[in-house]
């Protein structure tokens, strides 16, 4: 297992280098003179254009620019916002935990609800329960998270006054309040994710339960609980793990609307502001962070595969 992990880690190095170059090269995607474009186009103030050019080091050669940028990134310096003069690293260090809390909680909730629902549906395919869950998951997938979030706020925060409507409390300040402020966003994001997961688990379980070794186990008198829990679920979890990993990565980059509705100061709102003002260092910093997390999420998924299916470890 150790060798498997080491192989996977070594394989990440060229991938991370490629990602870093792609993120750096975002500056090349800006048509014309990037400094002038960021400063406001043809009518931009010349001093401001030169200021941006100096800040981004655009007068140097491309390789030199990349080398300097990469060196800074490796030492944790993601640059400074062109508009607020705040360190990107510093901003991300306060905003990333917010988005991470959102994504992790939603995915955890999705797994907590989606996996058991999928297993239940698979155990009785075609039954009333299975059909009801099918309708329910369709509804859950179709329901927009911002609509659900707003509805839950009205019910639980406004009418019942039992949960907060806005704001974020860091976990180190109060774990209970941290959770209270996030429970509605978690549900809003988790419903769709759990519905998708439930369907995935159901499909995989039905396929596994139809295998010969399951039939053999049942014929040998193994209890249904053991058949499901020890034999079938482990093998059906492989695609589910992929879905969970993808959902987590998607949530990291796609929670802007929920962050806005609940006034959560996460990466989503930070990124949106950067995109509209062409704040390149911020865009690069956020994209790089999300890309790196995506890569390591895939690594974790691969490792879990290895645990679930030892045959994978030798490939």
């Amino acid at each position: 297992m150790g060798a498997f992990i080491v192989r996977r880690l070594l394989g990440l190095i060229p991938l991370l280098l490629l990602i870093s170059f792609a993120v750096f090269a975002l500056v090349l995607a800006i048509p014309g003179d990037p400094a002038r474009s960021i400063a406001g186009g043809l009518d931009a103030d010349e001093d401001r254009v030169q200021e941006i050019r100096d800040e981004l080091g655009l007068d140097d050669g491309l390789i030199e620019q990349y080398g300097r940028w990469l060196g800074d990134v490796v030492t944790g310096d993601l640059g400074t916002s062109l508009f607020t003069d705040r360190s990107v690293t510093s901003e991300l260090s306060t905003r990333f935990p917010v988005t991470l809390s959102l994504a992790l909680g939603a995915v955890f909730l999705a797994a907590l609800v989606g996996i058991p629902l999928g297993v239940l549906a698979a155990m009785r395919p075609g039954s009333l329960l299975d059909r009801a869950l099918g309708v329910g998951t369709s509804f859950g997938i179709a329901l927009p998270d911002f609509f659900l979030g707003t509805a839950l706020v009205v019910i639980f925060a406004v009418e019942l006054d039992v949960l907060p409507a806005i704001d974020y409390v860091p976990i180190e300040e109060s774990p209970v309040q941290w959770a209270r402020h996030l429970i509605i966003p978690w549900i809003a994001l988790g419903v769709s994710a759990s519905a998708t997961l439930a369907r995935q688990v159901r499909g995989a379980m039905i396929e596994v339960l139809d295998q010969d070794y399951i039939r053999t186990a049942r014929a040998k008198g193994v209890s249904e609980r053991s058949v499901i829990g020890r034999h079938a679920l482990k093998n059906a979890m492989t695609p589910a793990v992929t879905v969970i990993g993808l959902q987590f990565a998607y949530l990291l980059g796609g929670t802007f609307i929920i962050e806005y509705i609940f006034s959560l100061p996460g990466m989503g709102t930070y990124m949106l502001g950067a995109i509209t003002s062409k704040d390149l260092p911020v865009i690069q910093g956020v994209v790089l962070l999300i890309a790196v997390i995506f890569v390591f999420t895939n690594l974790v998924v691969d490792i879990i595969y290895g645990v679930l299916n030892p045959k994978v470890r030798v490939t």
Binding site: V158, A165, S174, I261, T269
Partner: protein
């Protein structure tokens, strides 16, 4: 469900204490700097004004009134504007708010990209004595009393800025002013905490100890947070009026000022033809706009000033009544009988603005004009004006502090908006300059009316409706009446408000 119930029972944590919690959208309004010189958004005033106060203020009628300065004298002939400060004022760090500090502060502010716009014709400032500041001008000083009520009159404490190195100022992150509230802390995107400055010597009086400015999204998020008791005061759009009226724990106020919904035109193709501009004016049903977008509250706008304004020109009111047939005739005369297409920029993420844009799009479609809606981000100045995103801009035009501002900013030469809209007019500029040196308010108003006549007759814009600014508050928690702001970027008036 168990988790939900468990967490729900762990109530509290939203300690109110002695703080009034005022919510607005930081992403939309604030530029993340506390330095008035570095501020690139007029709406930074929502935070800065509490900390710095201003040298002058504007009264209910929009007229200059004493602030941290108790009086002033303008001498256009001598090219001087002399301020007399209140005695005994201090900055929040204990340093004297005296003439020397104010003169240095004004010199610093005169170098800011936007703050200098509030200090028109400023050349230099000097301390005559401890409380007297003489500002030297190279043009009319008419606008100064208005500008000193804005960022141009927000004086940072000496030591928080370096005139030789303005970009390295501490004021951006650790502001010290002479306003009624001291800066305590700032969580970007979350909240700004302020504490009452007990030695504040200005004209405003507050009856609460702490003020928390909290970031909350426009519309439903803000209204829900207010109803849930997590905010005490919010501004809101007209679409939320019914919800607020139905909640007995909330009170609200509205104020019709000089903010008006407008389709601002870039006078380049296709709007370089006066016939087309007049056609667009005739295509807009202004009363329907008020009924649909503003819940029936508002006043039809025929020009940049409301009827109650001395600058209102009755001779050109109603020049473009709603008349789709006439609009089509004008389009035919302009050589586009089948209409044309253009990009209409709108502020993105603001429900009211989206409704406005959609309604305008719908009305123009009736006469064959296709308006493609292009939502802008938070940096409107860069996107619409500098990057020329869109051929026209549907939004709410902020009120201007000084009487000539509404016309000057949009059509006078060398003004930012006029330049980037290709809308500079020498004839309007000449009238504005005359208005600035007019000996009486009446004569000034008459001259401005002449400029307004040009604006309307040449259809340089499409004014739609004067819209109310609204404020709602938790009257179960707060005592007192809260005045609605007159302008988009004005903070709410919390004088006389206390926590029950």
């Amino acid at each position: 469900m168990v988790l939900l119930l468990g967490l729900a029972s762990c109530g509290g944590g939203e300690s109110d204490g002695d703080a009034i919690r005022y919510g607005f959208d930081f992403e939309l309004n604030l530029n993340d700097t506390f330095d008035p010189r570095a501020s690139l958004s007029t709406c930074d005033r929502l935070a800065l004004e509490w900390i710095y106060g201003t040298l002058t203020t504007l009264d209910e009628n929009g007229q200059p009134a004493p602030g941290l300065a108790e009086s002033w004298v303008l001498d256009d002939a001598a090219g001087t504007f002399t301020l007399t400060l209140r005695e005994g004022l201090e900055f929040q760090d204990g340093t004297p708010f005296d003439a020397e500090a104010v003169a240095a502060g004004l010199t610093y502010l005169s170098t800011g990209e936007q703050s200098r716009e509030d200090l028109k014709n400023f050349v230099s400032a000097e301390a005559v004595d401890d409380v007297t500041v003489q500002i030297n001008l190279d043009g009319p000083g008419f606008g100064l009393p208005y500008g000193l009520a804005l960022r141009g009159g927000m004086i940072p404490a000496p030591g928080t800025y370096d005139v030789d190195n303005p970009d390295d100022s501490e004021a951006a992150t650790d502001p010290i002013g002479a306003g009624p509230f001291e800066f305590v802390s700032f969580q970007p995107g979350e909240e700004i905490k302020l504490a009452r400055f007990d030695d504040y010597g200005g004209p405003l009086e507050y009856e609460f100890d702490e003020l928390e400015l909290r970031s909350v999204g426009v519309g439903n998020p803000a209204v829900n947070a207010l109803r849930a008791g997590e905010l005490d005061v919010i501004g809101y759009e007209s679409e939320s009026q019914n919800v607020i009226d139905e909640d007995s724990s909330l009170s609200s106020n509205s104020r019709l000022g000089e903010v008006y919904a407008q389709l601002q035109l870039r006078l380049d193709e296709p709007f370089d033809d006066v016939l087309i501009r007049q056609a667009v004016n005739h295509a807009i049903d202004r009363q329907r706009f008020i009924d649909v977008v503003k819940n029936g509250v508002g006043e039809v706008a025929w020009m940049p000033y409301p009827e109650a304004s001395p600058n209102y020109n009755p001779a050109v009111a109603g020049l473009y009544p709603y008349d789709p047939a006439r609009a089509r005739e004008l389009l035919a005369q302009a050589g586009v009988p089948d209409g044309f297409e253009f990009d209409m920029a709108i502020p993105g993420g603001v429900t009211d603005q989206e409704r406005q844009g959609e309604l305008i799009q719908d009305m123009l479609a009736d006469v064959g004009i296709t308006a493609n809606i292009v939502p802008l981000g938070t940096d409107i100045a860069t996107e619409y004006y500098l990057q020329k995103t869109g051929d026209a801009f549907s939004a709410a035009r902020p009120a201007s502090a000084e009487p000539v501002g509404a016309v000057e900013a949009q059509w006078a030469e060398f003004e930012f908006v006029a330049i980037h809209n290709m809308a500079e007019r020498a004839d309007i500029t000449a009238l504005i300059e005359q208005a600035k040196v007019a000996p009486t308010d009446e004569e000034r108003a008459q001259i401005i009316q002449q400029a307004v006549a040009i604006v309307v007759q040449d259809a340089l814009e499409v004014p739609i409706a004067f819209v109310p600014r609204n404020v709602a508050w938790d009257s179960d928690r707060l005592a007192g009446d809260i005045g609605a702001p007159s302008e988009i970027c004005d903070p709410v008036d919390l004088e006389g408000v206390s926590i029950k």
